[in-house]
Amino acid sequence: MLPPRLKKAITDNPKKLANLIDLVNLPSTLREFVGQSQISHLGCFMRVWSYIKDNNLQDPNNKNVVKCDEKLKGILLGKPQVELCELPALIKLHFPKEQK
């Protein structure tokens, strides 16, 4: 059961939900990182976030900052370090709105 507000959000805007969970053919940069040719926007975010956690890429002095390794740099515009709060926006860049 979905909470009523979320349900409303989905019925109001089914496109937005679809954008998050539909599988998308990936560009080659991203394909290398996730190791598969298709992933959803949401799945990609989860993958990147767990990659950061698994490899302890958060700055120990400031947890809000991620120090990118080579692999991560490749998909996050080549930045040496990114703030956690930018992460969703950066990943969104790989999932442009107009698909078809």
């Binding site: 947890k63 703030e83 969703p88």
Partner: protein, 464 residues
């Protein structure tokens, strides 16, 4: 449920919390303190209750293929030492019916009679087939008629149990229209529905069709079959119109009720009061209570809970608290729902410390908080910018594996981001996903939206 740690109670101390001994979230998180214990009493025919026990066993039939099924049946018959009774036969047929088509089930049924003469099917066996026919994919009554005729040729005329099973099966497979059609047919054929079936169908109709359709149905039954709506039907109708926020119609129904000579009972009043409360009409809710007293109906726990919930919801928490006293005086024990409603009201007013005080009071009285209480408090604490205390409480909830509700999750994430603790917000996100508190999509949408907002706020120099 364990106790809320002492650090949360006193408003000054910020010492770390002690782990509660045992906390098992056993109540479903719901902010609506109406649990109507009795509405339509569910009548489960014996053969149905037998079915519900079944999924605990592995289905012996692994393929829908008929000849395979016959082989399985034969092997069960030959390997079992004890004679198979009717219940086993029914269960086997039911297992097969759950994966096969209707015609295959009938063939297996015939095969069972032929190869195993001690098996004498009774009405309940045919009902297994009947309930399968109701779930058939084609949108007509043809398969249902097929089984009914099959029953008749074997000497079993349908009765009201047959009708009940058919109607319930049709409704559960979203064929309310067919159920209405069938119930009319059955009423003409000596298998008239009883009031349970009738009320069940009215309830399904309310969910799926317009109010006028329901009224037409009731009118038709009254004139053609002499089946009058009873007090339960009216409770269903009133509940339905109040859920559609049509209080005027509810009042009209109460008048109709009076004309029919039915005295409204506690449940009717509770339903109306629930309607008033969801619409934030505190005065009207109090009016209902007055009316109850005038008509000599004793308010019960649900009445008081609904009233306290409603008054808290529309910001009249002082009055709500007064009714807490009243209900105790009348000999009712306020439960977690009562207190949570009041805490919710206090938090809305910004009096979180008052809510924490109430928590203490409730535990002193031996009433344990539930998941909903925790969520209400977490939401309130985060709103009132008491983030540290909120985090303490979140720690307790996490320790016990309690789920966050949508509102408290969102407020916590927002409060953390406002303080610039984005990494902690991510941690809450992880917990929400892991504990399945909210869907992944909802959790992510909230996080993404909050971070977007944070970026804007930073640009304007409003946040760190």
């Amino acid at each position: 449920m364990g106790k809320i740690p002492p650090s949360l109670r006193s408003s000054v101390s910020t010492s770390l919390i002690k782990k509660p001994s045992s906390l098992v979230p056993n109540e479903s998180p719901s902010h609506r303190p109406h649990h109507f214990p009795k509405k339509t009493t569910k009548k489960i025919p014996p053969q149905l209750s037998e079915k519900t026990r079944e999924p605990t066993f592995r289905n012996p039939f692994t393929s829908a293929n008929l000849s395979d099924a016959k082989k399985v049946f034969n092997s069960i018959v030959t390997t079992t030492k004890v004679p198979l009774d009717l219940r086993v036969h029914n269960a086997l047929l039911q297992s097969y019916a759950s994966i096969s088509t209707l015609n295959d089930s009938i063939s297996l049924f015939n095969h069972m009679i032929k190869t195993h003469p001690t098996f004498s099917p009774d009405r309940s066996t045919y009902h297994v087939l009947l309930s399968q026919s109701c779930k058939a994919p084609d949108q007509t009554l043809k398969p249902v008629h097929q089984v009914l005729n099959f029953m008749l040729t074997n000497g079993f005329s349908p009765n009201k149990v047959t009708t009940d099973i058919a109607v319930r099966s049709l409704c559960s497979s979203n064929n309310v229209g067919l159920a209405v059609e069938l119930i009319k047919e059955m009423s003409l054929k000596n298998a008239a529905p009883d009031s349970y079936t009738y009320n069940f169908l009215v309830k399904c109709l309310c969910k799926s069709s317009a109010v006028s359709t329901v009224y037409d149905f009731i009118e038709e039954f009254k004139t053609s079959f002499g089946l009058k709506p009873d007090i339960i039907t009216y409770t269903i109708l009133i509940d339905n119109v109040t859920n559609r926020e049509n209080l005027r119609e509810a009042t009209r129904l109460v008048d109709v009720l009076a004309k029919e000579g039915i005295r409204p009972d506690c449940y009717i009043y509770n339903t109306i009061m629930k309607g008033c409360c969801t619409l934030n009409l505190g005065n009207e809710a109090l009016e209902v209570l007055k009316k109850m007293k005038e008509n000599g109906v004793e308010p019960d726990l649900v009445t008081y809970n609904t009233l306290i919930f409603g008054l808290s919801k529309c910001g009249r928490v002082v009055e709500a608290k007064k009714y807490l006293g009243v209900m105790v005086e009348m000999g009712h024990f306020p439960d977690a729902v009562t207190y949570t409603s009041l805490m919710n009201g206090l938090c809305r007013k910004g009096d979180v410390l008052g809510a924490l005080g109430l928590l203490e009071e409730m535990q002193e009285k031996g009433c344990e908080p539930n998941v909903c209480t925790y969520n209400t408090l977490l939401h309130g604490l985060c709103k009132a910018k008491l983030l540290e205390k909120g985090l303490d409480l979140y720690g307790v909830m996490k320790e016990c594996g309690m789920k966050l509700d949508t509102a408290s999750y969102a407020t916590l994430v927002r409060a953390l981001c406002r303080e610039g603790r984005v990494a902690d917000a991510y941690e809450v996100f992880d917990y929400a996903v892991e504990s399945k508190s909210v869907t992944d999509v909802a959790a992510y949408t909230t996080l993404e939206g909050t971070l977007k907002w944070l970026k804007k706020a930073r640009e304007h120099g409003l946040a760190t």
